[in-house]
């Protein structure tokens, strides 16, 4: 543990506080935006964009993914692919369905 490392960390502390502030503000924003009378599609898009942005702030800084090792990026990329598969393929199967469309 060198001094440079300690110095490094104290620099990070400032970014933690900034991220916290951003998360708090975005929480207010998402609640405020939800009070508008959007269509469902637009409301989903806006809410998910804000949530994704918040989530990536947490992952990048609190979970320090910005400076993480390559193996972890690979792992998360793989997981992300299967996550997308898991979300969209059952949905696709339901929408492309013979018979009564409303009952999946």
């Amino acid at each position: 543990m060198s001094d440079s490392h300690t110095h490094d960390v104290s620099k990070h502390v400032r970014s933690y506080v900034l991220v916290f502030a951003a998360l708090a503000v975005l929480t207010i924003v998402t609640v405020w935006v939800a009070s508008f009378e959007f269509t469902v599609g637009a409301a989903v898009a806006v809410a998910l964009i804000i949530a994704t942005f918040k989530g990536s702030l947490v992952a990048s800084f609190f979970m320090h993914l910005v400076s993480e090792k390559k193996a972890i990026y690979w792992l998360l990329a793989l997981t992300a692919i299967f996550f997308v598969v898991l979300i969209f393929l059952p949905l696709g199967a339901m929408l492309d369905h013979q018979g009564t469309p409303n009952v999946p």
Binding site: A71, L78, T79, F82, V85, L86, L89, P90, G92, A93, M94, D96, H97, Q98, G99, V103, P104
Partner: protein, 589 residues
């Protein structure tokens, strides 16, 4: 120098420090002991699952006749008057599948062989998280106990098939709740295990053990661990949802307006039975590769060792395995062609299914080609490994018609499907697992198993397995459905192929008799088997044989940390005195 001195003092410290019986054999954190615990437990479950099937085979061959001997031992609800009740038949079917897959084959292939062999083959002192390893065994054991206890639940054990499709399973008896709880425990256990395997393989490889020097078995286990890690959680989620349906009255899998026994069910409805099928097969298709990949790994090790030459196309084996693992996540809905699936999605899943058969064929071909020009030693493990190749070939090729919807639609849920996946898992995987037992038994005990009994075991097993499973294709092509209480006796279209039921049942009971040499061999060899003189009884190149004594030292495996200088299968190395080059032998011997 200082390294080896350090290791010696370590060994001394261990010799002086006696562990209690409990720490050493029961709550051990040594991967070798845990591996053996897994092996014994899962072999018992395999035997138990097989017994369930032998009971069912009586009802299939001789419907409505009292079961001899055992019939009178069963409770009144299971077999009134010694005749198997339909409910009990359903329980046996569901629990046979569950036990064989989740409590038998996977724990043996991954928990036992993975645990015992992987750290030794990569030159690691243990798994990365020994205590986690111990807890995954005990969580698995708890899951097994819950599953066994469910036979005594009111209404008997789970009886909605091993796939537990709702809405049937949502309204089934208490046994289904216990099945779900058992599954949650088993899933947790394999999650803990897979995290441990991946970290061990990535982090604890010995110096010089680069990725392309890993034995193929380790690669197979690594890909398997990733499948378990990422495919099992969706089934855990589905299990939680079904538990909510059963315990909290929700309707995740219950559609609106469901009528049961002439009465409308008083639930909110709005759920989707197909949701369960998606989540279930999201796991259960990769699970097929969890069953087969470790078996391929075992077979590859044994073939290289007994042909005395390098595996054909090591790199293509590795990349095929990785590709296979990846693709296995996007083929699952070929189990669901009959659910009213539209043509676009169906085309997608048919295409991916055809694509995934390519790496499987590459692997099988590479293993076949590895035999070319080798001076084959027909040892017992090699016989089992050789038996695996054509059996898995039959299992794999009969799967192709099931992956195309035009041919799947008439074959779906017939005995053809049963024949297909049993060829993959029973004469396929289970033969490979036996091969692994014969191959690594000397490593675990320091004694070899008897060759004569081993060969007797092999010929009996492979013969009767074919007697059981080959007629299933005939029945299935004639359109006989699976899960029929009387084996099809009440259907006219089944009449011409009905007599095969008796043949298959006799085959199943004969298969049990064929296992007697194995039981005798297993227990006798433990105490009376031929002692392994130097550790490396098979003259193998991989670290578990070339760098560690048999059995390896408790807690630490190796006296000194081995260094790796070359790939895993250099069996023809003229510069070396024995003619082969162990991975840990320096350049100039």
């Amino acid at each position: 120098m200082s390294h080896s001195a350090d290791a010696v003092s370590h060994a001394d410290a261990h010799a002086h420090h006696e562990e209690s019986f409990w720490r050493k054999y029961v709550f051990s954190i040594d991967h070798k002991v845990i591996g053996i615990q897994y092996a014994i437990t899962s072999l018992l479950f395999l035997f138990f699952g097989f017994c369930l099937m032998m009971l069912m085979r009586w009802q299939l061959a001789f419907p409505y006749e009292p079961i001899p001997l055992i019939g009178s031992l069963l409770s009144e609800s299971m077999a009134p008057g010694g005749i198997m009740s339909p409910e009990f038949y359903n329980s046996l079917g569901a629990m046979h599948g569950t036990i064989m897959v989740f409590l038998g084959v996977v724990p043996l292939a991954v928990g036992a062989f993975g645990n015992f062999v992987v750290p030794l083959q990569i030159g690691a002192p243990d798994m990365a998280f020994p205590k986690l390893n111990m807890s995954s065994y005990w969580v698995y054991a708890a899951g097994g106990v819950v599953m066994l206890a469910s036979f005594f639940a009111p209404g008997g054990a789970a009886n909605s098939g091993w796939t537990s499709y709702p809405p049937l399973s949502d309204i089934a008896t208490t046994g289904q709740t216990m099945w779900l709880l058992g599954m949650v425990l088993l899933i947790t256990s394999s999650l803990l295990g897979s995290v441990n395997f991946i970290v061990t393989i990535i982090q604890l490889r010995a110096p010089g053990m680069t990725w392309m020097r890993l034995p193929f078995f380790v690669w197979a286990q690594l890909v398997t661990a990733f499948l378990l890690l990422l495919a099992f959680p969706p089934l855990e989620a589905a299990g939680v949802l079904q538990l909510m349906d059963r315990l909290a009255g929700t309707s995740f899998f219950l559609p609106t307006g469901l009528v049961v026994s002439g009465e409308a069910l008083s639930v909110s409805g709005g759920g989707s039975p197909l949701l369960w099928q998606h989540l279930f097969w999201f796991l259960a298709h990769p699970e097929v590769y969890v069953l087969i990949l470790p078996a391929m790994g075992i077979v590859a090790e044994i073939i290289a060792n007994n042909t005395r030459r390098p595996l054909f196309g090591y790199r293509s084996l590795v990349f095929s395995t990785i590709f296979l693992g990846f693709m296995s996540f996007i083929v699952w809905a070929h189990h669901m062609f009959l659910t009213g699936m539209g043509t676009s999605i169906s085309t997608f899943f048919q295409t991916t299914t055809m694509i995934i058969s390519v790496p499987s064929v590459v692997i099988l071909s590479a293993l076949f080609l590895s035999l070319w020009g080798g001076s084959i030693r027909f040892t017992t493990p090699m016989l089992f490994a050789l038996g695996f190749l054509p059996m898995f070939g039959i299992g794999g090729l009969t799967g192709l018609p099931l992956g195309l919807s035009a041919t799947d639609i008439p074959l779906h849920d017939t005995y053809y499907v049963i024949g297909h996946f049993h060829y993959v898992v029973a004469p396929g995987t289970i033969l490979a697992l036996f091969a692994g037992i014969y191959y690594w038994f000397p490593k675990a005990t320091g004694r070899k198993m008897n060759d004569r009994l081993g060969k007797l075991h092999f010929w009996g097993t492979i013969t009767f397995m074919n007697v059981i499973f080959m007629p299933m294709f005939i029945q299935g092509l004639a359109g006989v459905s699976r899960r029929l209480y009387d084996g099809g006796a009440q259907y006219a279209h089944a009449a011409p192929v009905l007599e095969w039921n008796v043949v298959m049942s006799i085959g199943a009971w004969a298969l049990a008799i064929a296992q007697i040499p194995f039981f005798i061999n297993f227990f006798r060899s433990m105490f009376k088997g031929e002692k392994v003189k130097d550790g490396n009884t098979w003259e193998a190149t991989t670290l578990e044989w070339s760098a560690a004594p048999s059995p390896p030292i408790a807690h630490g495996n190796f006296e000194t940390v081995p260094s790796v200088y070359r790939g895993p299968y250099e069996y023809s190395a003229p510069g070396f005195p024995q003619g082969y080059a162990p991975q840990n032998a320096p350049e100039k011997a």
